[in-house]
């Protein structure tokens, strides 16, 4: 104990103002708690400020910038040019709007927002250091910790903010690099590769695994690889990045090494939970070997401590954090709830887009289990044809009793199918439920109906199986 340490009492403390933290604060406030929220950077967290939102805005801009290429065959000639300072201003503007919106909601909910970095000093106490270095001690009744994650750093390729940068910096570049090499072929890597390829960079992805999007369905991954290659993206699978010297990134596998000319290297090797900086072990919580916080189904990490979002095991996705925020806020307020989703949708905004929800019968974890699946190619979808991209497909999976358990799709606009897919799995919809639901024509949603008809042995726009 620090001698002379004076603390103020707070009721429910939320640490972190991202999609997990601010949602937890709003939920707990609605349940009658007096909430204080500590955020070290900006309200909205990674997702809103340096993640999902700016990246999606940038993806839209890249799509616009590349319209000239995609519209050629459709009879439209467009020439485009990109002014990055204006792009950055636009993105920063929309981010600020959204962040202000959340601050407004927190204000209305009477959440006390404290700017600073919190660190547990005792099971029921944190020290909050503000920018000026002043320390404030807060003693709380319950705490919900949502400090998120940070980009993984590679010791042999330390980021310098100029030549070697992380994913956050890649969202706000002053100019478009000529030769961009991305270390990491996960969803962040393939999204940023799509962006910069469309903006005109020569992009190379280096991935240690033998496929893009490790852990995803191999058919989707292969299809994505083809799609990205057709955008001019170079893909080196099974290679690790060794060093960067004189505008060359050296990569190697067990047999050989080669050099990739690069004037910018992006380290997009994934994210790691921010469990250490907040010193959460001091609260009585325990950590897994991955650095994630161990929690129960209520997201409880210790008697009065809850951890949510990227801090807990599972995909580091904003919507997972938001869902856990409700569970943790309920549990902290004595309302029965549990984080037991049947599925967590995963969406990749590459070109083509990818969505995967629930059971993927091709993945190892479901090997040996019996599922039925039907793959409906978008070449038979009228909507896909009108969108000018019919290379994708949707795969719908049911169990032996006909209950829908999984979806995988790749193609234009398939990200928007995540909602129906998740609802079907969460509500244990059957093949007949999908067939009995009228899907609007012509939409990509119809492809779900078509695949369900295929599962029932009655395909409509395909002959035979």
């Amino acid at each position: 104990m620090v001698v002379g340490e004076v603390s103020s009492s707070v009721d429910l403390l939320v640490i972190g103002g991202g999609p997990g933290g601010y949602a937890a604060a709003l939920n707990a406030s609605r349940l009658g708690r007096t909430v204080s929220l500590v955020e070290s950077r900006l309200i909205g967290g990674t997702c809103l400020n340096v993640g999902c939102i700016p990246s999606k805005a940038l993806i839209e801009i890249a799509d616009l910038a590349s319209l000239g290429n995609s519209s050629k065959d459709l009879g439209v000639k467009i020439s485009t040019s990109v002014d990055m300072p204006t792009v950055n201003k636009h993105i920063k503007g929309l981010v600020t709007d959204l962040s202000n919106g959340i601050s407004f909601l927190l204000d209305k909910a009477k959440v006390d927002v404290i700017n600073g970095t919190a660190r547990f000093t005792r099971p029921n106490r944190v020290a909050v250091e503000n920018k000026e270095g002043h320390l404030e001690h807060l003693e709380f009744r319950d705490a919900i910790v949502a400090t998120g994650s940070s980009p993984i750093t590679l010791p042999n390729l330390p980021t310098d903010g100029e030549m070697i940068v992380d994913s956050e910096a890649l969202l706000f570049q002053d100019s478009i690099p000529d030769q961009l090499t991305l270390v990491g072929g996960g969803y962040i890597g393939v999204e940023l590769a799509t962006v910069y390829a469309k903006l005109g960079s020569r992009v190379v992805i280096v991935e240690t695994e033998e496929q893009l999007l490790p852990g995803f369905n191999k058919q989707l991954s292969k299809k994505l690889e083809n799609g990205l290659r057709s955008l001019g993206i170079g893909i080196c699978l099974g290679y690790r990045a060794v060093s960067f010297d004189q505008n060359e990134l050296i990569i190697e596998n067990s047999k050989e090494s080669s050099a990739i000319p690069s004037d910018l290297v992006g380290i997009v090797a994934g994210r790691k939970p921010n469990s250490d900086t907040v010193n959460i072990v001091e609260s009585g919580a325990s950590l897994l070997s991955t650095g994630h916080v161990k929690v129960d189904s209520q997201r409880r990490a210790a008697e009065h401590i809850f951890a949510i979002g990227d801090l807990t095991l599972g995909p580091a996705l904003a919507h997972k954090a938001t869902a856990e925020a409700k569970v943790a806020a309920d549990a902290a307020c004595g309302v029965s709830n549990a984080f037991e989703p049947n599925c967590i949708p995963m969406v990749v905004f590459s070109d083509p887009q990818i969505v995967t929800v629930g059971v993927d019968p091709d993945s190892d974890e479901y090997s040996g289990m019996d599922f039925n699946s039907f793959r409906f190619p978008f070449s038979a979808s009228s909507r896909a044809k009108t969108l000018g991209d019919e290379s994708g497909f949707i795969n719908v999976v049911s169990d032996q009793e006909g209950t829908i358990v999984g979806f995988q799709a790749i193609g234009k606009h398939v990200a928007e199918l995540a909602g129906e897919a998740s609802l079907a799995i969460e509500t244990a919809a059957s093949i007949d439920d999908l067939i009995g639901t009228i899907h609007a024509h012509p939409t990509m949603g119809e492809t779900i109906l078509e695949a369900a008809l295929g599962l029932a042995g009655e395909p409509l726009h395909l002959s035979g199986k």
């Binding site: 010791p155 490790p214 090797a269 029965s336 037991e340 209950t403």
Partner: protein
């Protein structure tokens, strides 16, 4: 360093305990507060939680062995107590990251996470309902299309969790609720020879001694339970702590306490075999027999003579729940001066219960059911409660037994008597 967990003093004057079963084996990793083993002392079985987290190194003693208080039960290797240092965590990650295998571990973690998702065939709203009704939804088989679990399935499961069988009378479920739900393994035992241990061993010893020593007499009767049910229904609405816990059993218990006050001999017992002295205790400690998974347990409501019907109802509800969950302590099962056994909850009508040593009587309560009763020359269906009084004939003659039983029956026919405080 290994932590030695010694048998703690879990009951007053306890010297030793029997190891009923081990929940862990050497090599297992246990968490703090995880149950390590079940021990039996006198007539209470307790689960002993681990005071530390770590790896089990050694178990001292086999199931069935007796262990003295203070003797080592189990050795547990504790992990280093210092929390992981930030730096080492950082280094671990970075070392991992610099290796090509890093993605594997990441994927493994993600896979494990996704596999965790229970593919429960119920909508989120139905799952929420199950949580609210504290029903384990994974144990329900759905009646909806393709086995989907509906809200009705959950409500039905919640109902059957509280009743072991379909209620046949309005108070059947309540009468039953003081007992455990139907067990699937009831009456099952592997063919072969079995050691008599645990609660079973204690029951065997006590019952044999009681049956051998006490000359039992039994008197059987039936009471019209219409007013009892009406009284219970009206009492439940009273705004008073304990009112919601009023059950037919607690009303019968209150009537019994009143009768024990009138006939202190029924609250006494004979010491010695055949008889050396008679003891009449100053207070009434009422035992309530409860079926638990490991056998019959009898929680005791001490000083039942000094509390009213509401407090009595509350105490019965609390202790029965503890016994059913086997969380009851030795002290909470000691010192009964009279026992009530409610075999009606198991569906029984008539039984001849055995008196425990150290008591002179036992009241058996059968199932309340509509039965034909002669009312003013006509046969009518009326809710009827069968009761049986067992008494130790060394101390109790027929006249005392009948008077005692009549006192209980009169109060059940006119339950307002039970609200009179003397």
């Amino acid at each position: 360093m290994a932590f030695e967990f010694r048998l703690p003093d879990i009951g007053e004057g306890l010297e030793d305990a029997e190891i009923v079963s081990w929940y862990v084996s050497p090599g297992d990793v246990v968490e703090r507060d995880q149950s390590l083993l079940e021990v039996l002392t006198d007539k209470a079985s307790s689960e002993l939680p681990s005071p530390v987290a770590g790896k089990v190194l050694k178990l001292s003693g086999q199931e069935g062995d007796r262990i003295k208080v203070g003797d080592v039960l189990i050795e547990i290797e504790e992990p280093p107590t210092t929390p992981p240092q930030e730096n080492s965590l950082e280094e671990d990650l970075e070392i991992e990251e610099s290796k090509p295998e890093r993605d594997n571990s990441r994927i493994e973690e993600q896979k494990n996470f996704i596999t965790v998702a229970p593919k429960v065939k119920a909508s989120p709203a139905t799952r929420k309902l199950a949580r609210e009704l504290t029903v384990d939804i994974s144990s329900i088989s759905g009646t909806g299309s393709s086995g989907r679990i509906t809200n009705d399935d959950v409500r039905l499961a919640a109902k059957s969790d509280n009743t072991s069988s379909r209620p046949s009378s309005p108070i059947d479920s309540e009468q039953t609720s003081s007992f455990m739900p139907e067990r699937s393994n009831l009456g099952f035992m592997e063919p072969g020879e079995h050691k008599v241990k645990g609660v079973r061993g204690v029951i065997a010893k006590n019952m044999s001694a009681a049956w051998t020593e006490i000359p039992h007499i039994h008197s059987l009767d039936e009471v019209d339970a219409s007013l009892l049910i009406d009284f219970r229904n009206r009492l439940k609405k009273v705004t008073r702590q304990g009112a919601s816990k009023i059950t037919p059993l607690s009303i019968i218990a209150a009537a019994t306490v009143r009768a024990l006050k009138k006939y202190p001999m029924m609250n006494g017992h004979v010491v010695g075999n055949p008889a050396e002295k008679i003891i009449i205790p100053p207070s009434i400690n009422l035992g309530i027999a409860v079926a638990s998974e490991s056998g019959l347990l009898v929680p005791v409501i001490s000083e039942a003579n000094s509390i009213d019907i509401f407090e009595l109802a509350e105490k019965i509800s609390e202790l029965v729940e503890l016994a059913r969950e086997r969380k009851i302590t030795v002290e909470q099962m000691q010192g009964a001066t009279f026992t009530i056994t409610n075999y009606g909850a198991l569906g029984g009508r008539w039984a001849l219960p055995i008196i425990s040593l150290g008591q002179a009587g036992i009241l058996g309560v059968g199932k309340i059911e509509d039965r034909p009763v002669a009312v003013e020359g006509k046969v009518e269906a009326r809710p009827t409660l069968p009761i049986v009084l067992g008494a130790d004939h060394r101390l109790i003659d027929g006249d005392v037994a009948e008077a005692f039983k009549n006192s209980i029956m009169n109060d059940l026919l006119e339950p307002l008597n039970l609200l009179v405080t003397e």
